[in-house]
Amino acid sequence: MTTHEQAFERAEPQAVERRGLHRPSLSGDWWRHLIALAACFIAVFPVLYVASAAFNADQSLGGTNLIPRSLSLENFRELLSPDPAKSQLQSSTSHYLRWLGNSLIVALTTSVLTVLLGALAAYAFSRFRFRGRRLGLLSLLLIQMFPQLLALVAIYLILLRTGDVFPFMGLDTRTGLILVYLGGVMGVNTWLLKGFFDTIPSELDESARVDGATPAQVFWGVVLPLALPILSVIGILSFVGTFNEYVLASALLQSNENFTLPLGLRGYIDKQYTEHWGPFAAGVLLAGVPIMVIFMSLQRFIVSGLTQGSVKG
């Protein structure tokens, strides 16, 4: 039955698109390059500045140039293994690695759970018709309108009381902080994911169900793989957002060893004397590494057109 079709396919390569014949010339488009360069410079400048400060032996902020006078790893050494005698921090010990660990645990758990719970909720909202569906969606959106900061006092009190009953998720615990973060972004992500799930043709679900899949198998085997791009984006955004979050963490975490990175690093520049910009810069620079790693590893999933070819519209 395919002879006709195969012949047609063999003929196809002749029709290969001719691309790149017209390449924009540099002379005509110089202004575009100028704007791009300016944008790059603006984006990169702070990074360069911090990098320079991190490797500068001179600790004062004022003395820092973009090109340091002398390079040294002194700042990193002080950050990672502070000399108690020399250190002027009150806590006298830097817990840099511990803070980094806290931040990683909190941010990773939050982003993974955000993606998972968001996807589950969104799938239900997108595919099932149940009582209270509309109301649920609307209230998710409404609640999301209030910034979490407004609820700071309430959140504080809730964690305080919760801690009385379940100490592991009260104030000054990572679990408590994770729960608060999770609540904060759930609504937005559920809406985002629901919008994406709505674009996955329901015939795919139905086809899988007729093929013998349970709702759970449809979710894990068909819908979730197709949603990988948006799941990765939400995962990355949530990771970066949590990793950088300061205000909530500062209100809910109290002891130095529970601090997340932003809280801990703040200690270096919080003081009257501002000689600690060097270690601070080093700490910020190092903190960028996990974010880069996460981004690189998820990047390959962020491809468009995953659902292409499933249905003919």
Binding site: M1, T2, D211, G212, G309
Partner: protein
């Protein structure tokens, strides 16, 4: 393999639409049944109720002697081919086909054999490693078929599987699917709104309109003995000419008056529609197939009427001539305008041709547009219906 039986099946959607009404239909073991009807008549709904994708509001549905009303799609063991194929885009062709078997935890080796078998049946072997987006429309369609046949289900359900293909490929796939079904012998329900597909593929054809089953029969019987006005107008290309006419019966012969012109019905015609006699003095709907009208010179022995030639479409071996005769043309309810849209030029609605005749191509050369032509009517082949109820006057 199994028979599928609808008993008094009803379907109400939440919005109150009564999409399928009191459906009684038995699809025999191994049969290829085509469900046909105009858009929105409830074909898809009926099919989805078999698959378990749509709840059954009333009546019972059984597959292989087992009542399945409350069973999930998974437990019904049927396979469905969707209009848009619904292939899993993240899986290769092989994995798409194997999907159902994997869910059933079949042994690996068996899965491989079955996939290879299905791919061979459908000429998909060279494409097994590809993703759906790297396939042509026809190949995607075959993957969707492969996913259905590989499981050897109780029944195949197909919802307009060919409607996304171009005309030529559609004709080819039509034959391929028919052959495949005959080879496998699996009970099949095939939904289409294309009556040519229905006539060419089905062992039997079920015609639906507005949620109601109109007639179930073999294609030839549907064509020769339509159960009502709707089926008469729906089945056949070009569609049957349905025009109003007055009947008079003088005790011996039945005479039909079409406008000012009269025809006498021969005995053979009266034998098929005996109640024509009783309709004397009343107005009825006369049905004449395009092939049962001829140019008068060709069939001098037949009675003839005069009609004005409006348009001729040459199809090669034969030509379709559109005439206008001084009488009311009838369109059965539920049959919308789409049947011959191309005739609906601006402003000509009132003067639309109401008599379609197929004539041999060489005779069409002598015809001149906008002239009156004598048309012979083979009254032995005519159909007659009650205009109020749509019942045949049999």
């Amino acid at each position: 393999m199994a028979e599928v039986v609808f008993t008094d099946v009803d379907k109400f959607y939440e919005n109150g639409v009564h999409a399928v009404q009191d459906l009684n239909l038995e699809i025999r073991d191994g049969e290829f049944l085509v469900l046909v009807g105009p858009s929105g008549c409830g074909k898809t709904t009926a099919l989805r109720m078999v698959a378990g994708l749509e709840e059954i509001s009333g009546g019972t549905m059984s597959i292989g002697g087992r009542v399945v009303n409350k069973l999930s799609p998974k437990e019904r063991d049927v396979a469905m081919v969707f209009q848009n194929y619904a292939l899993y885009p993240h899986l290769s062709v092989a994995d798409n086909i194997a999907f159902g078997l994997r869910l059933r935890k079949e042994p690996r080796k068996m899965i491989e054999e079955r996939v290879a078998w299905a791919a061979k049946m459908l000429d998909l072997t060279p494409y097994l490693a590809r993703r759906p987006k790297e396939l042509s429309g026809g190949q995607r369609q075959r993957v969707a078929m492969g996913r259905a046949i590989v499981r050897q289900p109780q029944a195949f359900l197909m919802d307009e599987p060919l409607s996304n293909l171009d005309a030529k490929l559609r004709v080819q796939m039509r034959a391929d699917i028919s052959k495949l079904q005959r080879d496998l012998g699996t009970t099949t329900i095939y939904v289409t709104h294309d009556q040519v597909e229905a006539m060419t593929m089905g062992d039997r054809v079920a015609v639906m309109s507005a949620g109601l089953l109109q007639q179930v029969d073999t294609p030839q019987r549907l064509y020769d003995q339509p159960a009502n006005l709707f089926v008469a107008g729906f089945i056949g290309t070009p569609p049957m000419n349905l025009i109003e006419a007055d009947i008079s019966f003088d005790g011996l012969a039945v005479t039909i008056s079409i406008g000012a012109q009269t025809l006498t019905v021969v005995d053979a015609g009266l034998k098929r529609y005996p109640r024509l006699r009783a309709a004397g003095g009343r107005r009825v709907v006369i049905g004449l197939r395009a092939g049962d009208l001829h140019l008068a010179d060709h069939r001098p022995e037949l009675p003839s009427v005069t009609a004005r030639l409006e348009l001729v479409e040459a199809l090669g071996s034969e030509s379709i001539a559109y005439f206008r005769i001084d009488a009311m043309a009838i369109r059965p309810e539920g049959l919308d305008e789409e049947v011959d849209d191309e005739l609906l030029g601006e402003g000509v609605t009132a003067a639309r041709p109401n008599l379609v005749v197929s004539i041999p191509a060489e005779s069409a050369y002598g015809l001149r547009l906008d002239t009156d032509v004598r048309l012979a009517v083979d009254t032995a082949k005519l159909h007659a219906f009650d205009p109020a109820t749509g019942e045949p006057l049999r």
